[in-house]
Symmetry: C2
Subunit: 353 residues, 2 copies
DNA sequence: TGGCCATACGCAATCGGTTGCGCCGCGGGT
DNA sequence: ACCCGCGGCGCAACCGATTGCGTATGGCCA
């Protein structure tokens, strides 16, 4: 390939090493190594070394450094799926947070498969990440307990687990808020399209929802509960099963917006109008929720990502991690008879921009 | 940091090394190293070594191996944004493809910012990835040419660029298909909500659309073209601008489903009904498209990911990469007067499950 | 039975930094 | 004037594998 002079000082030719820097400056490697860690201006030697480094286009090799020091400057994030926008948003935020601080992120996705979870964590560990962000925790503690037993700093994000440091949304509160809202809108017989029960997030939402409904005197009928996955397909299937069984509910809470999207299709196919015949509430407040005019709970994914990253980096440096719970926010739209999409859409649609 | 005895929990004490394996088997490190690369059953020594490795729970250290060998067994993927589901789908597929083959993926996201692009590529390179998958190429060749000049195997995915190996969808064909469809549905005055012009994908879609419309005798009116980003917010804004200017179009092609979602909100706010007053076509066929009953073009993201990964791994092993273009598929739904959502939803909603 | 080749194995250098240790010189305290 | 402390620096070991080279060995064929 052609190699224009200004564009890449170090292509082709051997990449500059510490040894070369040492020769060029007449100092010893170790001196150079140490000088590079100082501020350029702190000291004549430091300045000399930094200047030489700049001239040669020296870039330290993190591999070699990690091998000796045991620190890699990288954290691992394991997600259940990055096609789940909520996880992707968390990842993006984590990425930007840590990269700004000179760290790096290695991701892995497990599809919530226990075998893959362990395998991917081991892979990350073999790459010697300094800490782990776990986004695919299951409520049965096996996986998470195992992670904890590895002796590597870790923080759970989005899905918590008893006795482990985590950054989560207050899912139970969110469930209660939805119950409040639906009942306030006059719905006394409502359904629940729950997510997988092994997700603490889904579980928490369901528990809060159920508990609050009971408190409000409109207890959830077990016959109106369907549980499944987090995708549109499972949401649609769940709503179809429900409709085949009962048609006397006037509202439903879906474990995620994707589930709500699927449910919407099923409602449409059954000739029921969203918001008029059946009120629907989703979860995550994705961009598309605005377009569907879907009431949804916004959980602060960006903030979760940032806080979790911050907490993990603290843990790596020895600060004990203490769990945090962030506040959800109900965004009311037309699917529960709220204001029309037009009124709210503008300030909402920018997520992920 | 101080370095008290306990601060290096399991790492220093426990992690089995090649040397330990050597001592335990009475063989030399180099012999052990080589025996591990053989099949366990191929040879008594190999079996002995493998057994010992299993007993000690030996896991090779990729850092050390890479340092010496120059190969990391990792590829880098740079995405413009993982909250874009299309990119996330590609990533997921790449991840599974290469992990199955003993490789690993390091991702980075750049938000399409030129500064970030170079920085992140350099970061990946400093981690010594064996090859690069570029998902955020821009049409002006600067960035991609620079990547090519680095001398590292690379493949562009989703967004191509002249003279560089890539795996893309036939975006121009897709644009033509949409034009055909809209005209067939009787729309002769249609609008275009284009994506960023520096994306070859967006550009190609627009070109194909425009060209085919002209061929069909219904040329695109420049006054009916809006361009912007790929998000719901920009889609909504674009449609609002358009509606403020003109109301005489009966159909529109959106550069992505997200843009279409935003456009839908704007239409609703203007009191126009999707499919009845204005026909809309999106791009990517995301899960939510089904629920919105949105006609969309499905581009084969999974296949793109797989093919690109395959091609890159080939390139790493010396097989020259030759660009491939995959076929798009139009999914007709209610937003262009197609069959109701109910008819098609079932087999479509499972994407990403 | 002798010679030759393929193979298995040991030895030691190597990848590119980091870090404990010891030396040296300089400045300050008494 | 003396001694101590401290900071900068060089030396060399080290992290955990891979790999070129030299030697011993076993199988095969003549």
């Amino acid at each position: 390939m052609t190699n224009p002079p200004g564009s890449d000082p170090l292509a082709g030719a051997g990449r500059p090493t510490l040894r070369m820097l040492a020769e060029r400056t007449g100092l010893h490697m170790s001196t150079v190594s140490r000088a590079l860690r100082r501020e350029p201006a702190s000291d004549p030697t430091a300045e000399l070394v930094h200047r030489a480094a700049a001239e040669l286009g020296y870039r330290p090799d993190p591999l070699a450094a990690s091998l000796r020091s045991g620190k890699t400057g990288a954290i691992g994030m394991v997600a259940h799926s990055l096609t789940d926008i909520a996880q992707a948003m968390i990842y993006e935020e984590v990425d930007h947070y840590v990269v700004e601080r000179g760290y790096d992120v290695l991701v892995a996705s497990t599809r919530d498969d226990p075998g893959a979870q362990r395998k991917r964590v081991e892979l990350l560990l073999s790459r010697r990440v300094d800490g782990l962000l776990i986004g695919d925790a299951h409520r049965d503690g096996d996986y998470v307990d195992w992670v904890a037993s590895l002796g590597v700093p870790y923080v759970l994000v989005m899905r918590g687990a008893e006795g482990h440091p985590s950054v989560t949304c207050d899912d139970e509160l969110a469930g209660r808020m939805v119950a409040d809202h639906l009942v306030e809108c006059g719905h006394t017989r409502v359904a629940l399209l729950a997510g997988p029960d092994w997700s603490a997030a889904s579980h928490g939402r369901a528990v809060g929802f159920r508990t609050r409904l009971a408190e409000l005197g409109a207890p959830l009928d077990d016959d109106l509960v369907e549980s499944g996955g987090l995708h549109a397909a499972t949401g649609r299937a769940a709503m179809e099963r429900l409709l085949a069984r009962r048609r006397d509910f006037t509202g439903a809470f879906c474990a995620s917006d994707f589930v709500a999207f699927g449910a919407t299709s099923a409602l449409a196919a059954a000739g029921l109008r969203l918001g008029d015949d059946v009120a629907l509430v989703g979860f995550n407040d994705l961009q598309a929720a605005t377009s569907l005019d879907l009431t949804s709970v916004r959980s602060p994914q960006e903030e979760m990502g940032r806080v979790a990253a911050e907490m993990l980096m603290g843990a790596i440096e020895g600060v004990p991690a203490v769990s945090r719970t962030l506040a959800p926010q109900l965004i009311v739209r037309g699917s529960t008879g709220g204001p029309a999409a037009s009124a709210l859409a503008a300030d909402v649609a920018g997520a992920g921009a």
